[in-house]
């Protein structure tokens, strides 16, 4: 159990600046996801935490103790790797026992052949055996203990890797994209298992992933990283609903948020694609130049509404429907999430009217920073014609599981 404290961590590889001053506090027992596209520095940050890489500057503390310069083995952290990194020549049981052997046996007792006969080795080996058995039982891999990693499936190897990590009860677990080598179905399953494991152990988890669905579903807090800096750290719902930066908004959420060009008038009111949005910025100097509308915030409408667009493509996912549109006055295609029941009424090339939910729309300034907005009036929005109720346009709150299955 541990609190981790990172202060202004910087790291460059040659000319490339990988981390440009990362500060992060992680509470005891918290599940924090580091999420970002590949190459954003999240794995490097994890490796610095693990002690496999040294930062150029900045400090890192575990429970108020500075551990910079302490080697990986002595930090009492354990790590699960993307490739599982099981020792191919050892059986599952021996793999799980390695971290215990290295800590609880001395160099002589670890020797092959004669080691087991040295004084004291017998009792310790028996204790290690019991710990391995307990870990295996917890992960339901007791029947695999005698096998070699080469004989296991991806999911089983994953469990063994987790077993090796948890058997020595570390201060914190570091997981480096542990699910990305699994197939989609198994990934959903293992996601739930890891979250459950975190609840059982109550240990601190740091989870690196490029998959925002994993980050959203498992974490207490998400830390969104881009180009070597932390853009936003917060609860999943906060990061999703109130992204601090347009890059965060674009990275979190699938399908991607629709970014529409907007303009701010002198009185602060925002216009988007030639339509008055009846939204205004808060503050005099603030200018919103882009409007972000999530796919579930756009609705089809029978009557002329905020925007008009042409359907480019329809994707039927079963429970819901993604409609790709070209909005009038906007080059980039927009995506709308609708109920699959609407499919018979829609066709590619058809021209449609669209409205959007003002309370869910996000405004950003020229630099991409989020801008606070207020609604100018509370007049009811255009009532959609019969057949298309607003609720049908809004995606039902699907479990992330279901969404992930199509990612």
């Amino acid at each position: 159990m541990a609190r981790l404290h990172l202060k202004d961590i910087r790291k460059s590889f040659g000319e490339t600046r990988v981390l440009t001053g990362v500060s992060l506090d992680i509470a005891d027992g918290e599940f924090v996801s580091l999420v970002g596209p590949s190459g954003c520095g999240k794995s490097t940050l994890l490796r610095i935490i693990a002690g496999l890489e040294t930062q150029d500057s900045g400090r890192f503390e575990i429970d108020e103790q500075r551990v910079d310069g302490v080697r990986a083995a002595d930090r009492n952290l354990s790590m699960v790797f993307q490739s599982y990194a099981l020792y191919p020549h050892l059986s599952v049981g021996e793999n799980i026992a390695v971290p215990l052997n290295m800590r609880q046996l001395n160099a002589l007792q670890r020797l092959p052949v004669i080691g087991p006969f040295l004084p004291g080795a017998r009792g310790r080996r028996r204790a290690i055996h019991a710990q391995v058995a307990r870990a295996a039982e917890m992960l339901d891999i007791t029947h695999l203990l005698g096998r070699k990693p080469g004989q296991l499936s991806g999911g089983q190897r994953q469990r063994v890797a987790v077993g090796r990590a948890l058997v020595r009860e570390p201060a914190a677990f570091l997981l480096d994209e542990p699910l990305s080598n699994l197939d989609a179905k198994l990934r959903v399953h293992m996601r739930a298992e890891i979250a459950q494991l975190h609840r059982w152990l109550g240990a601190t988890f740091i989870y690196v992933t490029h998959d925002q669905v994993e980050a959203m579903t498992m974490s207490d807090r998400i830390a969104v990283m881009l180009d070597g800096e932390l853009l936003q750290v917060g609860a999943p719902s906060e990061v999703y609903e109130r992204p601090a930066d347009i890059r965060v908004a674009e990275f979190i959420g699938s399908p991607k948020i629709n970014i529409l060009p907007a303009a701010t008038a002198a009185d602060g009111s925002i216009a988007c694609l030639g339509t008055e949005t009846r939204m205004a910025v808060r503050g005099a100097e603030v200018r919103a130049s882009q409007l972000g509308v999530r796919p579930e915030g756009l609705h089809l409408s029978r009557e002329p509404a905020d925007f008009t667009g042409e359907i480019l493509h329809l994707e039927n996912l079963g429970p819901e429907l993604y409609v790709q549109l070209r909005l009038q006055g906007c080059d980039a295609p927009a995506t709308l999430r609708a109920d699959a029941a609407l499919l018979p009424q829609l066709a590619v090339g058809q021209s449609v009217h669209l409205s959007f939910r003002r309370d869910r729309a996000l405004a950003f300034d020229n630099d991409g920073k989020a801008v606070e907005t207020r609604l100018l009036d509370r007049t009811p929005q255009t009532t959609p014609a019969s057949g298309i109720k607003p609720e049908q346009g809004i995606a039902p709150d699907l479990g992330e599981e279901r969404r992930a299955a199509h990612v």
Partner: protein, 298 residues
């Protein structure tokens, strides 16, 4: 039933391959055949592969005053017993084992940490060191034989096992081969070992060595064959002590002492010397080829 069509290309390929095989196999055929035949048959080139195996009289035996009756033997028995009696062949074989095994073990002890450092550790001058290893690959043994000999002589080490072993303990080829193999071992595995509490040396012996067994087997065959068959170097550093002779040096015994008639025992000795290598290769063949293609992991 499958029918085979005549193809000129295939035929040419096979003719070339058969000719190549003959060139390689004929000396072996002659060696084994000679080791089975009586001296007269060898001289007149008769008797086919196995020889007639008629009883022959051992001249030395008669000269020592034994009755002719007691000295009659089959040629094959004569050749192979002579191989062991005229020279201490078992001693030579033992020397061969001591020298080749020592060389191989020390080569591994040196090459594995070197290869690990060159493949997996980042340090200043790494590519320079690796370049030096490559350059060492290009230096022929004979070019440095004289300085090596003088060095050993000054140290008073000629006519010892040390002289046979020490010059070969650092194998640039071994370092190169193992380095190439270690490059294919995933970095995650090494990081996992570090997280598990292993030191860098523990990683070499507990993680890399077991993973590298196929490559090591390939290297073992290169190394053991080269030093088991080496005639050049033992001939230089072993000048007086016959008890240090390696098997190839032992072959000279027959040439030197009995210039005329000892082809039978000589070829019997040669057959005995190559047999362990051929048996070892056949046993390890599959893994040997695995190691050469460097596909041990994954």
């Amino acid at each position: 039933m499958t029918t085979y069509r005549f193809s000129t290309g295939e035929t040419i390929k096979h003719v070339v391959l058969i000719l190549g095989a003959l060139v390689v196999l004929l000396p072996f055929y002659l060696m084994v055949s000679t080791s089975l035949k009586a001296p007269q048959e060898i001289e007149t080139n008769r008797g086919g592969f196995l020889g007639q195996q008629e009883m022959m009289v051992d001249g030395d035996c008669v000269r020592q005053g034994n009755a002719e009756e007691d000295c009659r033997q089959r040629p094959v028995v004569y050749n192979y017993t002579q191989a062991f009696e005229k020279a201490p062949l078992l001693r030579y074989l033992l020397n061969g084992v001591i020298v080749t095994v020592s060389i191989f073990i020390i080569q591994v002890v040196v090459a594995l940490p070197c290869a690990y450092a060159l493949a997996k550790l980042r340090f200043r001058g790494r590519s320079l060191v690796f370049g030096a290893v490559i350059v060492c690959l290009l230096i022929p043994v004979h070019a440095i034989a004289l300085p090596l000999y003088i060095g050993l002589a000054k140290a008073g080490l000629t006519n010892s096992y040390a002289a046979l072993i020490i010059p070969w303990t650092i194998s640039a080829f071994g370092i190169f081969l193992m380095r190439q193999f270690f490059m294919t071992v995933p970095d995650d595995l090494i990081d996992a070992a570090r997280m598990d509490g292993m030191s860098e040396f523990a990683i070499v012996w507990r993680v890399m060595l077991p993973a590298a067994v196929p490559a090591l087997l390939a290297f073992a065959i290169f190394s053991v064959v080269a030093h088991w068959n080496d005639y050049f170097w033992p001939r230089i550093v072993i000048t007086s002590s016959q008890e240090l002779f390696t098997p190839p040096l032992g072959l000279r015994e027959f040439k030197g002492e009995m210039a005329d008639h000892a082809y039978g025992p000589m070829m019997a000795t040669a057959t005995i010397i190559v047999t362990p290598l051929i048996v070892a290769f056949l046993l390890a063949q599959r893994r040997f080829i695995e190691g050469i293609t460097l596909s041990g992991m994954k």
